[in-house]
Assembly symmetry: C2
Homo-oligomer: 189 residues x 2
């Protein structure tokens, strides 16, 4: 059991041992409930057929939600990013989960991602805006530029702002962040 | 000596002791040179009469520089921010150092800062753009809004971008940063 638990992300030998000791001390019913929950989740959770977000249903809650705008698609690399953006409660459109970023070093090209279904979605539906929300790494930038060129013929493409994080101190910001914060300056309203 | 050294920022009892031991072991000439350097710097470095950046001359190097644009002023709270922005090598205009941010809790109102000289500078010279580059804290926001309203009648006012820092991961960004990154999204070019 310890060996298996150690494979989980962020679980080292000590944590694995602590978890194992805890599990052994529980009643058989409790352990069965935990084991079943893992199996059920693995069996039930797949990817939404429309946006590729994790979902227990063929089409996810967000895609089926009647109050969410169909004409805006926010493109993210991972399902965790959907969760992060949902927490802001600021976004009312739909998503598209790429399943990663273009990274030739890791053998991930456009065809390994859900880019083709995204282009199909954008070209076949009335989409007014595609917001690219990909983290600003080298691979992220490559992916953003690639997607932007691909989608621009169909609709308006925007990308999230880069600059100083909230509570971030100008003095401690790295030079590239500061340069982009200056470059991306906005009119004062 | 240890007592005095301990007053420096970031210097605790142990560091102060280590510094003191080091100084005691130097030759008298070396210690005199160090002491004199402190005195000279304190005597010589004052504030630029134009922009209030630290300067050994009545008017600082940046304000006197012939190749820097006179028509753009970047407003920062502290001289350290000037140094940070200069390191990006992206900005070719002038600066204005406020000497802090508006903070009623600490008894700092607009009159404690160099806001009046800034308004005079903007109203009496041909300034095409004032970029407000103040760190996004509660006090920083207050100061930015106050300055924006004050300067808008004279010229174009912009503010630096807030959003994801470079290398920052969307998933780990706090909700406010993410919300502002979405809100501040830009056209893809």
């Amino acid at each position: 059991m310890i060996e298996q638990l150690q494979r989980l992300p962020g679980v080292g030998p000590k944590t694995a041992q602590r978890l194992a000791m805890y599990i052994i001390k529980r009643s058989e019913t409790e352990v069965e409930a935990l084991a079943q929950a893992l199996l059920d989740a693995k069996k039930q959770v797949g990817l939404c057929k429309v946006c590729f977000h994790l979902s227990a249903e063929p089409i996810c809650d967000i895609c089926r939600h009647p109050q969410r705008d169909n004409d805006t698609i926010c493109v993210v690399s991972d399902s965790r990013d959907v969760v992060a953006i949902e927490k802001t409660r600021e976004y009312r459109g739909k998503y598209h989960v790429l399943g990663g970023v273009i990274s030739p070093m890791d053998g991930i090209g456009p065809e390994q991602l859900t880019i083709e279904p995204l282009v199909r979605r954008v070209s076949q539906n009335q989409v007014k805006e595609v917001i690219i929300a990909i983290s600003p790494s080298v691979e992220g930038e490559t992916t953003t530029l690639y997607l932007g060129q691909l989608i621009k013929p169909f609709t308006r493409v925007t990308r999230i702002a880069f600059g100083l994080p909230m509570g971030g101190d100008l003095e401690y910001a790295d030079e590239i962040t500061l340069a982009r914060a200056l470059e991306g300056r906005r009119e004062f309203n």
